[in-house]
């Protein structure tokens, strides 16, 4: 596949799928339009369009991933042939496949839309397309007979399109586009059953909380654009929105450091909102009000990963802006670490099975952020990959339990228990995924999570390694509790066949899925808990199989040949010559150069982020260290996980089944435990803080002040002006208007009318007043501009 000429240039292979990866989001977007317009008339009400579009996206992204592997192989092999003496040099940088088309240009400035395909993008593309396909198939059964079935599939398809669009964005503008599409669709999907007020409130909360963070995205993009644009235009011929341009600019050593820092902080605020990190995580558990497939798709593996993806995508900006290379605590690692523990503790006091999973997701996202913040880029991205499978499986299993086992309830304490015998397949998939999430040895979670913890420690963030281990213990413990309550012990409530009216469940939050029209369902609802139909169990089994095996794709313990993720996903940190690569020509020529470093560079450390690139060279990715795998370290974390599993299991048996006297009511008797429990039960009082303190103390005074100004000052001015004008008008009419023959008559009439008019409350609703305000505001704005510019 590879050939290289005398100058040491290697031509990387490409292919149809790689060149046409932009089709991947386009297909679901078209399907969305078709579903909206023709969905209701289709035999399966539009759902077949959604499933088909996701499956074709999956095929396309799979093909692209396969050709990317070919491409990396061709470059790596070529580089080995080209470099004879290069015993120790940086990993070759495989050029991403970039295509950009201009859709808008203004003043010589081009806004592009297109694709930026590299290992990271392809990982996400495959995961998103795969999970979306499975979730759509699952929803065929789960939402059967729903009143907004067609709209549900339309929104789900558009959501996937938004995520795919964001993932392969070559510039920040397209990234924001995808990001916002996702925000909108998550609002529609969370509020799918908006008739219930709790659901529409949750949808609004999710939308607004994420919106708070989105301010950061816009501000950060603007900061980076204005500080990078000159450099990128001069050196690479691309705009300051371009992602590889921004990466190269951040690594060039010529970037203004304060711009980098503030840009990175602003962007990370957006990630906090989207990825549910610590202070803004409150929307994510409430968002479980949506249908379970939505939770599975949006809140485990795609949407919330967007923030993590943004950090991974613009990693050089964060690397330089946050000084990740140093071992000092930075903003990202701090937020990530706090999130892990805070969210894991909250998962212990939840009764709702989906909320346990929601907090678990928040906690796992904290792991990813902590990894990124500590320089463990590859393990964090790998954790996105593995986490998607087992968390989607967990959510779908929870949905299966509520669908067939607990009569649409999600309350573990009231309506579940002992379901393992009734629903063997669901129970098996759940347990496999739980073990994977906890990080038990051969399962997927072990390879990614342990790598994060290991690398965080290896990069010098020792405190955060302990946080990570604590998180691992807590994860194992709360998942065991949820497993025990759901599948073991005695059957309670609906799981025992007791049918309380599904709509009268006490806690309204737990009854979200009661809106599923149950025509197909009431028939067998009387049979009590049973296994779900094939459309539900088959996706579960596929996901569980992946939860078992996905970790092997980067199994560091088994040696370098197993580290496929490292080879194919992590960008090389090599210096790249400026030139052929940015043109994004269709033959996709790639220049890989031998690093022209002095001979002692082998002794010092070479590679990007250590030494700034020389003129004519750019860096696209910092040099990242990988911790060598040691069984001793893995054993420590495995022991901690096992401890968590066993202790939690024993506690659950004692507490929930044996009703051990000493444990029951402990939170009522012990003051410390009680206050801790109350603190957790109220979710650290963050919601109260946001609603009562912030909204009341800021929004209400502003509203009051505006009202006061409106009532007293504006009205006073208008009334006063009216009075003055009446006098002036009267004077004018009396003294000047004499030239009109019947001026006196008219004048007195007009003056009388004017008096009446002025005394009448001069209130708004008049177009002229609005016009006056508009024009005077424009004039004042122009005046300010003039004053500033002179």
């Amino acid at each position: 596949m590879s050939d290289h000429d005398m100058t040491g240039m290697v031509v990387a292979s490409s292919g149809w799928f790689l060149e046409h990866a932009w089709l991947i989001p386009v297909i679901p977007a078209i399907a969305f339009v078709l579903i909206i317009f023709f969905g209701k008339k289709m035999p399966m009400k539009g759902s077949e369009l959604g499933v088909l579009s996701m499956l074709s996206s999956l095929v396309l992204s799979g093909g692209a991933a396969w050709q990317w592997i070919q491409r990396v192989n061709s470059v790596v092999d070529g580089a080995h042939e080209a470099v004879v003496e290069g015993a120790h040099h940086a990993a070759p940088y495989v050029q991403p496949v970039i295509h950009e088309w201009t859709w808008w240009q203004s003043g010589g400035f081009h806004f592009g839309i297109g694709q930026h395909i590299d290992g990271l993008a392809l990982t996400l593309l495959v995961v998103v397309a795969f999970i979306s396909s499975l979730v759509q198939i699952y929803s065929l059964e789960y939402l059967r007979g729903d009143r907004r079935y067609t709209h549900f599939f339309a929104a789900l398809t558009l959501f996937s399109a938004g995520m795919l669009c964001m993932v392969l964005a070559p510039n920040m503008v397209q990234l924001i586009l995808g990001w916002e599409i996702m925000g909108l669709c998550s609002f529609m999907l969370i509020g799918h059953w908006w008739e219930e007020e709790a659901n529409s409130r949750a949808a609004l909360k999710a939308f607004f909380t994420v919106r708070v963070g989105d301010m950061g995205l816009l501000i950060g993009t603007a900061i980076l654009f204005f500080s990078a644009n000159n450099w990128t235009q001069k050196n690479l011929g691309v705009s300051g929105f371009n992602i590889s341009g921004l990466s190269a600019w951040a690594m060039s050593g010529e970037a203004s450091h304060s711009a980098l820092t503030w840009g990175a902080v602003a962007l990370f605020v957006a990630c906090i909102g989207k990825s549910g990190q610590f202070p803004l995580h409150t929307w994510l558990p409430d968002a479980m009000a949506g249908p379970t497939p939505v939770s599975s798709l949006l809140h485990s593996s795609t949407m919330v990963v967007a923030g993590v993806f943004l950090v991974a995508r613009l990693y050089p900006v964060f690397w330089e802006g946050m000084k990740i290379g140093d071992t000092n605590i930075n903003f990202i690692v701090l937020i990530g670490g706090i999130t892990i523990v805070v969210a894991a503790l909250l998962a212990f006091v939840q009764h709702d099975i989906k909320k346990v999973l929601a907090y678990s997701t928040v906690s796992q996202l904290g792991y990813m952020m902590m990894g990124l913040g500590a320089g463990a880029w590859l393990p964090a991205v790998f954790h996105i990959f593995t986490h998607a499978f087992f968390k989607a499986c967990l959510f779908l299993s929870a949905g299966s339990v509520s669908h067939s086992g607990s009569h649409h309830s999600f309350d573990m304490k009231k309506d579940m228990g002992g379901l393992a015998k009734k629903m063997p397949i669901t129970a098996t998939t759940w347990i496999i995924s739980t073990l994977a999430l906890a990080g038990v040895f051969p399962l997927a979670g072990f390879f990614s999570k342990d790598e994060i913890i290991d690398n965080v420690g290896h990069n010098g963030y020792n405190a955060f390694m302990i946080v990570g281990l604590t998180g691992a213990f807590l994860t194992a413990a709360y998942m065991t509790r949820a497993t025990y309550l759901t599948f073991f012990g005695e059957a309670r409530g609906a799981a025992a066949g007791i049918h309380h009216d599904a709509h009268a469940v006490v806690d309204t939050h737990t009854s979200h899925d009661t809106h599923v029209a149950v025509d197909s369902h009431d028939a067998h609802a009387d049979q009590g808990p049973h296994e779900s139909p094939k459309l539900i169990t088959v996706p579960l089994m596929i996901l569980a199989a992946l939860a078992l095996t996905a970790g092997l794709s980067n199994a560091t313990p088994f040696g370098e040949s197993w580290e496929r993720f490292k080879k194919y996903v992590e960008p090389g940190s090599e210096y790249v010559m400026v030139g052929a690569e940015m043109g994004a020509t269709s033959d996709a020529k790639v220049v890989v150069t031998t690093p022209n470093m002095p001979s002692e560079a082998a002794v010092v450390e070479e590679g990007c982020a250590v030494v700034a690139p020389e003129a004519g060279m750019v860096c696209y990715f910092p040099t990242i260290h990988h911790a060598p795998f040691k069984w001793s370290k893995a054993a420590l974390s495995l022991i901690i996980v096992a401890l968590g599993l066993v202790s939690s299991w024993l506690f659950c048996v004692q507490y929930y089944t044996r009703r051990n006297r000493r444990l029951i009511g402990l939170t009522e008797r012990n003051k410390v435990l009680r206050s801790g429990y109350t603190f957790l039960w109220n979710k650290y009082y963050l919601d109260e803080l946001y609603e009562k303190v912030i909204v009341h103390s800021i929004a209400h005074p502003i509203a009051k002040a505006v009202y006061w100004v409106n009532q007293n000052i504006l009205d006073g001015i208008v009334n006063g002006a009216g009075k003055v004008s009446r006098r002036v008008a009267g004077w004018v009419y009396r003294n000047i208007d004499q030239r009109v023959v019947d001026g006196a008559v008219n004048g007195s009439g007009a003056a009388a009318r004017g008096t009446g008019g002025a005394l009448r409350p001069v209130q708004s609703g008049k177009v002229n007043q609005y016009g006056a305000l508009l024009f005077s505001a424009a004039a004042i704005g122009a005046l300010i501009l003039v004053i500033i510019n002179t």
């Binding site: 001069v762 008049k766 002229n768 007043q769 005077s776 122009a782």
Partner: protein, 173 residues
């Protein structure tokens, strides 16, 4: 001196026409008779056409006379007659808050005058008198049907919609 090598005749023409236009415009917004206002507006629009001629834009000037002075004014008079039975002086053509317009207009005028004088100063519009050639219609048509074809299409669509909309709105049913 600048004035010495300016084109005297054109300047005198400009001054007279501008004065007429400004007086006309002021009358348009102050007279208390709708029909009179429309007639004053005719003077302003014709003056504008004359200014276009001074700027050597003959085609635009002719279009101005045809469309504005011809068609639009007739429309205005029709509108006036259809909506008001009484054609004559009215004492309440103005708002109760008409005085608000004066400071706003003066403020805008101040800002704009400052910017214009500051920006262009005594720059001459044409370097030598010979440069001012009338623009052939062919050049304009090349421009319209060349680089600005798309706005032209959009414009024709707007006109179509306006025609249909006006009929639908004004139809008695």
């Amino acid at each position: 001196m600048i004035a010495a090598d300016l084109l005297v005749a054109q300047n005198v023409g400009f001054g007279i026409i501008s004065l007429l236009m400004i007086i006309g415009a002021v009358r348009v917004v102050t007279v208390s008779n709708v029909v009179h206002a429309a007639l004053w507006l005719v003077i302003v629009l014709s003056g504008a056409a004359a200014q276009y001629l001074l700027l050597s834009a003959e085609f635009v000037a002719i279009t101005q006379v045809l469309v504005y002075v011809g068609a639009v004014m007739v429309l205005f008079l029709f509108g006036t007659m259809l909506t008001r039975a009484r054609i004559g002086a009215e004492s309440d053509l103005n708002n109760k808050n008409w005085f608000l317009g004066i400071p706003v207009a003066l403020l805008m005028l101040g800002v704009m005058s400052y910017v214009i004088i500051d920006g262009f100063g005594s720059e001459r519009l044409i370097k030598n008198s010979g440069d001012m050639q009338p623009i052939p219609v062919q050049v304009i048509s090349d421009d319209i049907f060349g680089p600005y074809l798309l706005p032209f299409w959009a414009l024709s669509f707007v006109l179509l919609v306006a025609v249909i909309g006006a009929i639908v709105l004004a139809r008695k049913d």
